[in-house]
Symmetry: C2
Subunit: 677 residues, 2 copies
């Protein structure tokens, strides 16, 4: 009789009384005909009726449709306000060259601000360009060249108003670390230079393509934690590289890892140390740090730390020139060719054996450069309250590097430290970049000869002074507090850069980030749910100690976004074990568990292995006399288990829209079943 009633209930779908349950837990069971009539009167309230909504929901869009839609969205973004056709050409040009838009409203008052900002920027940019070229193992003029053409191109195409374009530390390090492995820059500087230009060309091409194909999400593949770790590691590596200049060493290693560098220093130090270099470098380092301290204490004096590097260069050059310290072991720049950017199209190296490696290095540089530039651009844009289109920025960066590679520039991007100075100096538009570029160009034409005597130790001290900004210990600490696994990724990237190489550090970061996703999504975790008092909400009983268990019913939630081959078996066995254990305890008190409600809220997707596991779970439970109820299967899941005929196996009456529906119905059935037994 109990069975018959159960089946009838399933077929005719029982009503649910969530609010009245605690007052009327039992319903007279003998007259269930009357009850069935009631159901027909109140169909909209029935939990099983809601299940029908679930079971009759339309099919979700197939995966390729989703894919096509997202590609379509990416390639052909829909704009709601379509303009008239005749204006389309102008609009397109304005999109490509934002200067056409804002240039028409540009006023003299704005230019005053931009001029001041541009000049301040130039005074910081000139010494930084020289030192980063040095870091990239190129002659110093290439750094200055890179501060001329790319900013001008960006001024035409970019939409950020604050970003300062030019060479940056991390990209310079990346470039020198990776190209050095192909060609030794001291043995064959010409080939090294050609590869640097080729890499820049590839970087630009990749960046432009990413932007055109709207692949902006690619730069998201470096997680925040990975960037923090990577930057910290790179800063230390860059700092270690400066030991060469600071100590005045002639022999150094091409490797970038801590161990090799310290070994090289230890080996060279006893033989060729010139203390004068160290004294000079350290005194100016202290000077720069003091100016920065002053700038921080009084925000209006921001120009003091911004000018300090240029002042240091001029002063130290004068000192060396006047005291002839270069005869006493102070290393100086020496090679410095002035004049306009020479054309370098003929130096691009597309036929050589390094073409594949160049493309690879170009890709890595492109991504790192974009990550830095777009990060910087977005954070300042959000301060000023405008939106920066990542894809458009990528196109601008791409073209600026392509043009750069034709005019003796190496990979340029947005510099964080200079952008901050530009912002502090009150720039209004990207015109400050134009001012900066022209100022750098003028100094290239007139003053380069004067830089012959600049001591290398000063350059090292300027780089060293810029590094603390790259090491973000506070952020690392907050990552540690928030997410331990993210911190592991951060440490992995940091150690990879520090103890192996820059590209291994990046690789470690990307691989660990994705491994984290895999682990967190297949982690075979389940939790026992209980009802929160006075509600229909079922929650983890460990997380919410107020939650209470419903006797005779076991509610288990799968805490994994996907039920797939990699976790399905494990989850199934865990659930079976848990239900067995619970059953043993319950059996002695209240006659055992009758229904197991499987809350599938979190399972967004299931594969064939997952469905097999559920079928086995159903078989196992049935053999113990326990019914399986499924609560809240998602769209993909319900569609797939319907397609796999699993719904028919467990009976459509055992699929519910929510855990509370499932529990109410089960309670009902259980009580009725017991009364009828």
């Amino acid at each position: 009789m109990g069975l018959v009633f159960k089946d009838l209930c399933r077929i005719f779908s029982l009503p649910q009384f969530p609010q009245t349950l605690q007052k009327q837990p039992t319903i007279p069971t003998d007259n269930f005909t009357m009850e069935l009539q009631q159901m027909d009167v109140t169909p909209a309230n029935g939990g099983s009726d809601r299940s029908k909504w679930l079971l009759s929901s339309p099919d979700p869009p197939p995966p390729w449709q989703e894919l096509f839609t997202s590609i379509k969205e990416a390639f052909f973004p829909q704009t709601k306000n379509r303009k008239a056709k005749e204006r389309k050409a102008l609009l397109f040009l304005q999109t490509l060259f934002p200067i056409l838009k804002w240039g028409r409203n540009y006023k003299a008052t704005k230019f005053k601000h931009d001029l001041m900002a541009g000049l301040t920027l130039a005074s910081l940019c000139i010494p930084q360009s020289i030192v980063y070229a040095n870091l990239a193992k190129l002659d110093p003029q290439y750094g200055l060249y890179t501060s001329v053409v790319p900013p001008l191109v960006y001024a035409l195409m970019g939409s950020s108003r604050e970003i300062a374009i030019g060479p940056v530390a991390v990209v310079s390090l990346l470039l020198s670390a990776m190209i050095s492995k192909l060609v030794d820059p001291s043995a064959d500087p010409v080939a090294y230079l050609r590869i640097a230009f080729t890499v820049t060309f590839f970087s630009g091409t990749f960046q432009a393509l990413f932007g055109l194909f709207r692949l902006g999400f690619l730069i998201d593949f470096l997680s925040h934690a990975a960037i923090v770790g990577f930057m910290g590691g790179a800063a230390i590596v860059i700092g270690l590289q400066q030991l060469k200049g600071l100590l005045g060493l002639s022999h150094f290693t091409n490797e970038t890892d801590v161990v090799s560098v310290l070994e090289a220093v230890a080996k060279a130090l006893p033989h060729e140390w010139y203390p004068l270099n160290f004294v000079l470098g350290c005194s100016f380092l202290i000077f720069i740090l003091i100016t920065r301290f002053i700038g921080r204490r009084n925000k209006k004096l921001f120009w003091i730390p911004a000018m300090a590097p240029l002042f240091s260069v001029i002063l130290s050059t004068l000192i060396v020139y006047l005291t002839k310290a270069d005869k006493h072991g102070v290393k100086i720049v020496k090679h410095f060719k002035g004049g306009l950017n020479p054309i370098s199209v003929h130096q691009l190296n597309f036929g050589g054996s390094y073409i594949g490696d160049s493309a690879k290095i170009g890709l890595i540089c492109a991504l790192v450069a974009l990550t830095e530039a777009i990060g910087v651009g977005r954070s300042f844009a959000s301060i000023k309250g405008y939106h920066l289109d990542g894809n458009k920025e990528m196109v601008a960066m791409g073209f600026m590097n392509i043009v750069g590679s034709f005019t003796s520039c190496y990979t340029a991007t947005g510099s964080f430290s200079r952008t901050a100075v530009n912002f502090a100096a009150g720039c209004e538009t990207v015109v400050s970049n134009i001012v900066m570029a022209i100022t750098v160009l003028i100094s290239l034409l007139l003053f380069t000869r004067l830089l012959y005597y600049t001591p290398l130790a000063i350059l090292a001290s300027i780089i060293l002074s810029a590094l603390p900004g790259l090491i973000d210990i506070n952020e690392a600490y907050s990552i540690w507090k928030v997410d331990k696994l993210d911190f592991l990724v951060c440490v992995g990237a940091f150690c990879g850069v520090l103890f192996h190489s820059v590209e291994i550090g990046l690789l470690v970061a990307v691989v660990m980030s994705f491994a984290k996703i895999i682990i967190s999504s297949i982690k075979p975790s389940t939790e026992v749910l209980g009802r929160l008092p006075g509600t229909d909400i079922f929650c983890n009983m460990v997380q919410f100690p107020v939650a209470t268990k419903t006797p005779g019913i076991s509610v288990i939630r799968i805490n994994s976004g996907t039920l797939c081959f990699a976790n399905a078996n494990f989850i199934k066995e865990r659930i079976v074990k848990r239900v067995r254990d619970e059953n043993e305890i319950e059996e002695s008190i209240r006659g055992g568990i009758r229904v197991m409600v499987l809350d599938m809220t979190n399972v967004m997707n299931i594969d064939t292995s997952g469905i097999h596991a559920m079928e086995e779970l159903h078989k196992d439970l049935t053999s113990q006399g326990i019914e399986l109820a499924i609560a809240n299967p998602r769209w993909q899941v319900i569609t797939k288990i319907k397609a796999a005929k699993f719904v028919e196996k467990i009976g459509p009456g055992w699929i519910f829209l929510s855990v509370s529906d499932a529990v109410e119905t089960s309670l009902h059935l259980k009580i009725n079943g017991l009364n009828n037994c």
Copy 2:
């Protein structure tokens, strides 16, 4: 005034009226002091009070604790029924050698069944062992050796009652395909054989270690779809390999892909084709297929298809011997050494240059062999209704292969076709394997000389006849129906095996399976929710057309298991765009959206990039005058956003336990806000 009220509501936590809402949507707003008093009276019903449960939930266990617990569970499984100490040694032995347990109750009636099953098994096993050895490019006796020792070892240690141990097609193919790349079996058969034994030793060692360390989940890394595709591809590859024997070719390729094999056949066919081979092979193939058809029509005649291969071998050998067909181009086995398994410990090759490759091949063979054996064992165990411990089986398989490698056997595992025959023949225990092994041993001692004249074409036709069982088109079709991406994995594995090589096929399968997990868990998908009529349940409005939108409130659910670096930015921008679009529409009708409820039910985990994205979302919404409410953040998520101080930023009053709580409170605030404006 509106603002002050809003803040007060946040602080004092508004009550929620889910059931009475439609009747009393508005509450008098002027006397909110009275209202606040009411709240204090009914705290347990308030949505915000529930939020307090959420906000005050204890910290979840740190990730390493979870890791440790799962390792601990894996290594030291807890058994509830601990036996007395003095029996522990016996129990341990019984666990290791289940024969000690069931052997004591073994009866003569059971033996009768096992004897019959064992003899039937042997008659199928002898020809299959010869042909699989041929497939593995080993002399035929090695196949027979492999059907002697491993079954005996398994009989002592294994717990499956039906599984038939010996060489199988896929592992043989895998072995020959991979070892052939190291050593050419026709050029240096001795070295090839030594590597085969070494690989077998490694396979066994890996299997035993997996079992001892309870790494049973490793075999789950081949998804169901991948196995179906891989087996199908392997079957076709094996079939193509048989063209050599069937056409009587002498020159053939060592490659296994379709293109190479067909090229080799096309090249060799005009020169050296002996039609007699083909005629002989095909006629026996047809004979075997007819017997199989008979066996299928009448289940009692299962022994006819089981005997057919042996009968074919004997008959064809006789024909060749009597007609001297080998003088007319019919290729025969020739090399066939009889006698007991020779000891091969001294042939294991641990010092050579192939040690790393051997270990790699051993690992792959170990996993594939285990996948097949445990799949077969489990499916028959579930028919007979007992549970098979995967880890224990792995240990048994491991030891049987280690002992096998010492006694001239190559990698053995559970064969699907022979297990089915064993089951059909009514085996009771693993004794049928012992009977089979002894029968094979006797034939090795007495009858091998008779097999000298066995034509190779017969062996090919026996293999060919077994292949259709490996190609499961029905299953592939049902995978297609259930999950298109899974089907893609299946096709990928199939094509990888078919057009490249067996190991590439496996690699493709594993990589595609994991890529699928990554894609499905970072797929940046969001859905708009609406309330199901008469409930507190909020559902996807596309999936449930009955769901209705609440005016002025936008409810969006993140449909991704994790909100991380790879999808956070994309999801954020999608939500911003969606809210803007909705706001535009709403503004014209009802004065715009006031609250955006973000349902985070599905987000099991968040990383620092995800939290950054949420902070930016909050900023963006605030700038539009829209409040952000967060509904149902999971344990990990609430803990992390608390740690990152995001809760303070949006205000703890805007975090709710469910969407309906969030919507009620927002509705309330909105109405009050509007009235107060």
